[in-house]
Symmetry: C2
């Protein structure tokens, strides 16, 4: 027998992974959570039927969402991760010696628990004394913490289900207010192939709170169309092509050259965020 997990990524596009074992399945207060063992990419975390990560490719997403903004900030000390209950983003943030505290605002504690149990290579940061768990709504969290963070990373699900508010103008306004002077926000902002209207919508929603915005790109084989966008946002202009060099930063995807390459937008992507 062959058992295939299939995600219908859009109306007309599906990705399937051959599964050897269902390791875990539960209905949390927020979503349907599953951990599957796949032949191609190792363990797979699925929320509401959507691929969150696999062991084999998660490093690209997590290194990209974390190191790009952290190495563009002169000295990130206090960092907020919204979503990201799997711990992958926290793991990368904790590689920065300047970071004194990382707050993880994940709404669904069960994701954190599942990661502790099934994803030992992702949840390494959960025992770090610099990590502070703030289980709850990320929007409430930023509302209640003005002027607090050097960097905010929005490591959300897609804008359906619990993640929907994290793509709206109200949230961006509060997130901007939660930053300290010179602060940066980075967010996952969906596929430049199959979520083109959504990227335009997100950038429009960000515009008022973040006059400076730059799209950047990375390949994520298990996300729709295999190529993903992130957005770097700030109040004032930043030169995104001059990251600090952090000697000894252990990565499998990120390098300063890959950082710069991520901002080279092909014309069909650049047109999504062209200034009016």
């Amino acid at each position: 027998m062959e058992l295939w997990f299939t995600e219908k990524q859009t109306e007309g596009l599906a990705l399937s992974l051959l599964v050897t074992r269902t390791l875990h399945r539960e209905r949390t207060p927020f979503q349907d959570l599953a951990v599957l063992e796949t032949v191609q990419y190792g363990r797979l975390l699925v929320l509401d039927g959507v691929v969150m990560l696999t062991e084999a490719d998660e490093f690209i997403y997590h290194e990209t969402i974390a190191h790009v903004p952290l190495l563009l900030h002169p000295e990130p000390r206090i960092v907020l991760v919204i979503g990201g209950g799997d711990g992958g983003t926290v793991r990368e943030v904790l590689k920065h010696p300047s970071v004194e505290k990382v707050v993880l605002a994940e709404i669904d504690e069960r994701v954190i628990e599942a990661s502790r149990r099934f994803f030992p290579t992702l949840s390494t940061g959960f025992t770090d004394p610099r990590l502070q768990l703030a289980v709850g709504d990320g929007i409430e969290h930023v509302r209640n913490h003005p002027g607090t963070y050097d960097v905010i990373l929005v490591d959300s699900t897609d804008p359906v289900g619990p993640g929907v508010g994290l793509f709206e103008a109200d949230f961006y306004r509060m997130a901007a207010a939660a930053l300290r002077p010179g602060g940066l926000l980075a967010a996952q902002t969906e596929s430049p192939f199959v979520n083109r209207e959504l990227i335009r919508h997100i950038h429009k929603n960000m515009k008022e709170a973040f006059p400076f915005r730059r799209l950047y790109l990375a390949p994520i084989p298990t996300y729709p169309a295999g190529w993903w966008s992130f957005t770097l946002a700030a109040e004032a202009e930043v030169n995104p092509l001059e990251p600090r060099i952090l000697p000894g930063l252990a990565t499998k995807y990120y390098t300063p050259e890959v950082h710069r390459a991520a901002f080279a937008l092909p014309p069909f992507v650049a047109e999504l965020v062209r200034k009016e």
Copy 2:
């Protein structure tokens, strides 16, 4: 009813596209050929069950395989395309005013015919007087044309079926001999995620004929894992980061910045082609 085309890209990975119509299906002397209309990516060309291209994403592959080497060569005049019967690569090559002649060595004339009928945006070059069709075996063609070409583009299928010889050392030796002094070869060289041993094998096979080799990358959403490698090869060293600028070159993916970015290899890819 929903009709899905599914390609099992590896033992454990599959991509599916919702199909509205089968436009064409035939058994050619070389392979099974199908043209399908998909909801997500427009028309789809399938050879032996494997996605060759879709109307929506083909520009990335064709711009990348063509413009990178053509803009690294000081003055490409005579160009050979091996495979590529769909015409997409030829279309891009013909955008270069220095090009006096493009020879298309496609083994399967039925692919050319299918493109003429079903892919009007790809087959535009087939009426250009600079194009010379050389229907037949690309390996034979290079053997019979020593010292002839400025640039050779290996736009092959995967190394199974008719394309298999195009990844072997014998072919690379003859291709190197078919180049004029200062000539360049570029080839599609499979996925850095799911064909890692194959990339190592190809580079080993190229080594003797082409002392200079550089991997470069582009996202191709309909290929396995959505991210693809190409290899630039030459007898002598070339600086791959300084392409000529061709004013007025109309592209949707390629820019000089995207060109440079394509050569920024993440460590997990660089290790595939590290020199011993």
